[in-house]
């Protein structure tokens, strides 16, 4: 028991008494996924955490558009939009197809719209 206390309290600021709700903690811990999953998951959600990217995704939920269209629609510089599209591509949230000089972007994943939808529900409630 003293032994166990040491295990959980290696010079850390963690709670100093042994375990407040030991059973609950053990149970909840079982639901934790691997570190990698949380890294990927937070990387993905982070992408949704920016108004410009959300607007881009909203637009693409309606129509496939080229970079220039998006710049137009959002009154933002081509550069800013292109950088954000790159970020979105990086997490596989949008994809694109070259069409001559242009690149036509579209959402790559039904999850994108689902996540947007639930987020909007949450915000509007």
């Amino acid at each position: 028991m003293d032994n166990q206390k040491d295990i959980y309290n290696i010079g850390e600021d963690v709670c100093s008494i042994n375990l407040i709700h030991e059973k609950s903690v053990e149970n909840a811990k079982k639901a934790l996924l691997t570190e990698d999953v949380y890294t990927d998951l937070s990387d993905t959600f982070r992408i949704f955490g920016n108004p410009t990217r959300l607007k881009i995704m909203s637009l693409l939920a309606v129509e496939d558009l080229c970079v220039c269209d998006i710049s137009e629609a959002l009154s933002m510089s081509q550069s800013a939009v292109s950088h954000q599209l790159r970020t979105l591509r990086g997490q596989n949230l949008v994809k694109f197809k070259k069409e001559g000089k242009q690149a036509r972007y579209s959402l790559s994943d039904r999850h994108v719209v689902e996540i947007l939808k639930i987020g909007i529900e949450h915000v509007l409630e």
Copy 2:
């Protein structure tokens, strides 16, 4: 038409030809929500964009827990956890109830679990 070009091109880096896909742009723009909604929405999603907060939410999806339990479960300092709980509270993603010296936290919204679930689906595919 020259006139119109000026409107859309006020010294900006925006596309210099008039409108590539005018109809599509007009149509997609109709789907844009207000600036406020995008601000709230990105504030909410930003919260999901951090592994520590995701882990906290995962734990709370299983069991209501006090701060100390969470510190324990994640081997993180009480301070770090408390700061993150504050952030989560700020977006109404968790709530808490004082119980004596402790504060027992729980998820405040079914949307939290739904968003987590879809996010995990996206990541694991």
